[in-house]
Amino acid sequence: MRLLLIEDDAETAAFIDEALRGQAHELQLAVDGRDGLICAVGGGWEVIIVDRMLPALDGLSIVRTLRATGSQVPVLFLTTLDGIDDRVEGLNAGADDYLVKPFAMAELIARIAALGRRRERTSTVTHLRVADLEMDLLDRSVRRAAEPVMLQPREFRLLEHLMRHEGEVLTRTMLLERVWDFHFDPNTNIVESHVSRLRDKLGRHRPELIHTVRGSGYMLRAPDRV
């Protein structure tokens, strides 16, 4: 993926640069707001990562200007600003995701991947299928190997999310935000306990579909065919 990083802290930029290159991404760095905006408007990016507090021009203005030019490129704020209104402000400015520093690299990578693929997905699907697991979004039914699986509403949403993002890592925080709309860090293993139940319901004895990615999150993927 072609990524643009607008970040004034050299150390953080180097850390991200190194990690993302390892993920076969192509990254360009802009170290102040004005350069950043020029690069961003220049186009050709699949995801733009923006700091909020930047020299010359702040991140919010960059995103607002970019959106005013009609650009739809996914933008992720990566910022130290964690006030109760900061997140809403960032999203209202036109960003697609908001990640607060300090962050875990795995979290950033997962979110970039999710943003990058977002445009490829059509939201009008009525049917999801991964290996022998099928989900009908119209009558809200799930079958594994043609056998019906009874799920509670929240488990259904969790599975739907995992299936829509087949082959992608979804972190605990992403799932909390998107499945439960929880924008805080609960002290309880909510995601873990739900995934565990889901695995039970999908059949422990069958090949595992939901995989734990150590240090990152979960991924739903068809078992490797040999």
Partner: protein, 461 residues
């Protein structure tokens, strides 16, 4: 309620406010005091004039007695009788009496009286053609050398007239003073009340969260303008303080988060390259760091919520779906600990607020109820409407919190000894309290007998 009844009720309310206003009461008091002083004034004037008129009459009659005797050229009864006879015809303002020592009237236009010498007042009329309306007589008598008695009197009618007119004047002035006092009081209270209400209206919007709103200044440079001006300056100051408070937490957040970000990145890089025991150490270090960050975030968040008075981005939050999400989220956890988690909620409960913060508030309470109670306990969320507003409760049947610790556990980092071994930082209930405060809801911890019952009362706006 129809418009007219609403108006009538509003009008009645306004009238009651007007009459109940301290200014109106002050005006009443003032009018009362003023009437009292007018009364004192009238009494003084009355007494003075009365005395003056009495003295005047006394002098006149004494004079007349002397003149009668002078006209008679001595105290010869026959000459005196003639003089008195003549005077009765020519001096209509006076009353004369000449009686001999036996009390037999010799001349004059009066009936006989007891012969007392000197100045005297005759209450009962002794005039010849007396009528009930007659005023008393003031007069002067002398006992002549031969024992006969000469008396000259004058009617005190003028004095009575004067007293009456003074009384009438007093009654009128009193009436006018009371009317003016009441009317003026009402008018002034109305004027003053209007300005005070403008000020309190402005204060209410400011309390509602609009810190940039200012109190209107009339421009007449009176004490109300001075008051508004003072309040406005105070508001300027508060606004700056709140602003700099926000700025400070932003600065702290930024200035601490930047080095912490670098620290975390270094640890992560080192962790990626490490193996064996070192990797384990670094893993633990990362976990601790994330714990510190979580505490730091919670602390900042609590003080931000406490400093916030913005209600403008509040929305109507339906409680049922919110509680349903919580039940679903924490259900598996409860089940794993053989606890039950249930909700009993009226399904049309709406609260004005921030749904993210309200979710976190209830999540903290549910987490506490699941975490600080033993295996097999029951946790229930309730919600009803009551006269004061909407009541939301989270109750468990665990060990509870002793009543004397209820205030303590709401403080930052406060944990009971029994919870030392469970994970947590003691900030959960502080956040609950801050969010409740932001929503104008009262938070009360109660004994559930057994267990803890946390009750939130969202008052009607």
């Amino acid at each position: 309620m129809s418009d007219t009844t609403a108006e009538a009720v509003a009008g009645r309310g306004r009238a009651r406010r007007l009459i109940g206003s301290s200014l109106f009461r002050l005006m009443l008091l003032y009018a009362g005091l003023f009437s009292l002083s007018v009364m004192v004034l009238f009494v003084v004037i009355g007494i003075t004039t009365d005395g003056f008129m009495t003295r005047q009459i006394d002098a006149t009659v004494a004079n007349e007695v002397a003149e009668v005797r002078a006209d008679a050229g001595g105290d010869d009864p026959v000459r005196l009788r003639d003089v008195v006879h003549g005077l009765v015809q020519t001096s209509p303002g006076f009353y004369y009496l000449l009686q001999d020592r036996t009390g037999h009237v010799l001349a004059g236009n009066m009936s006989a009286i007891h012969p007392t010498p000197g100045q005297r007042s005759l209450e009962r009329s002794h005039r010849q053609y007396a009528s009930a309306r007659d005023a008393p007589l003031l007069g002067d008598g002398v006992i002549l050398p031969d024992g006969s008695y000469l008396f000259v009197g004058s009617s005190a009618g003028a004095r009575r007239e004067m007293r009456l007119s003074l009384l009438r004047a007093f009654a009128w002035s009193l009436g006018i003073i009371v009317m003016l006092g009441l009317g003026g009081g009402l008018l002034m209270s109305m004027l003053v009340l209007r300005r005070i209400e403008a000020i309190s209206r402005a204060i209410r919007t400011i309390m509602g969260g609009n810190l940039s709103q200012r109190i209107p200044v009339g421009g007449s440079d009176d004490e109300f303008d001075h008051l508004s001006d003072g309040l406005n300056r105070m508001l300027d100051r508060i606004e700056t303080l709140v602003g700099s408070m926000r700025q400070i937490s932003n600065d702290i957040a930024h200035d601490l988060r930047t080095p912490l970000t670098r620290l975390r990145q270094r640890l992560e890089l080192a962790h990626r390259d490490a193996t064996g025991a070192l990797a384990e150490q670094l893993d633990a270090a990362l976990t601790y760091l994330d714990g510190i960050l979580a505490t730091f975030t919670s602390l900042l968040r609590i003080s931000q919520i406490e400093a916030r008075i913005r209600e403008e981005d509040f929305t109507d939050v339906a409680l049922t779906p919110l509680v349903q999400t919580l039940i679903e989220a924490y259900g598996p956890t409860a089940e794993a600990q053989q606890q039950t988690l249930t909700a009993d909620l009226r399904d049309d409960l709406m609260v004005r607020g921030d749904s993210h913060l309200l979710t976190q508030l209830l999540a903290n309470l549910v987490e506490n109820a699941l975490r600080h109670t033993p295996v097999g306990s029951h946790v229930s969320i309730g919600g009803t409407r009551c006269t004061g507003g909407i009541v939301v409760t989270v109750a468990d049947d665990g060990p509870g919190i002793p009543a004397d610790q209820h205030d303590f556990v709401l403080g930052r980092f406060a944990r009971l000894d029994a919870s030392r071994s469970t994970p947590g930082s003691g900030l959960g209930l502080s956040l609950v309290k801050a969010v409740a405060g932001l929503h104008g809801a009262s938070l009360e911890l109660m004994d559930n007998q057994p267990g803890l019952l946390c009750q939130l009362l969202f008052r009607k706006p």
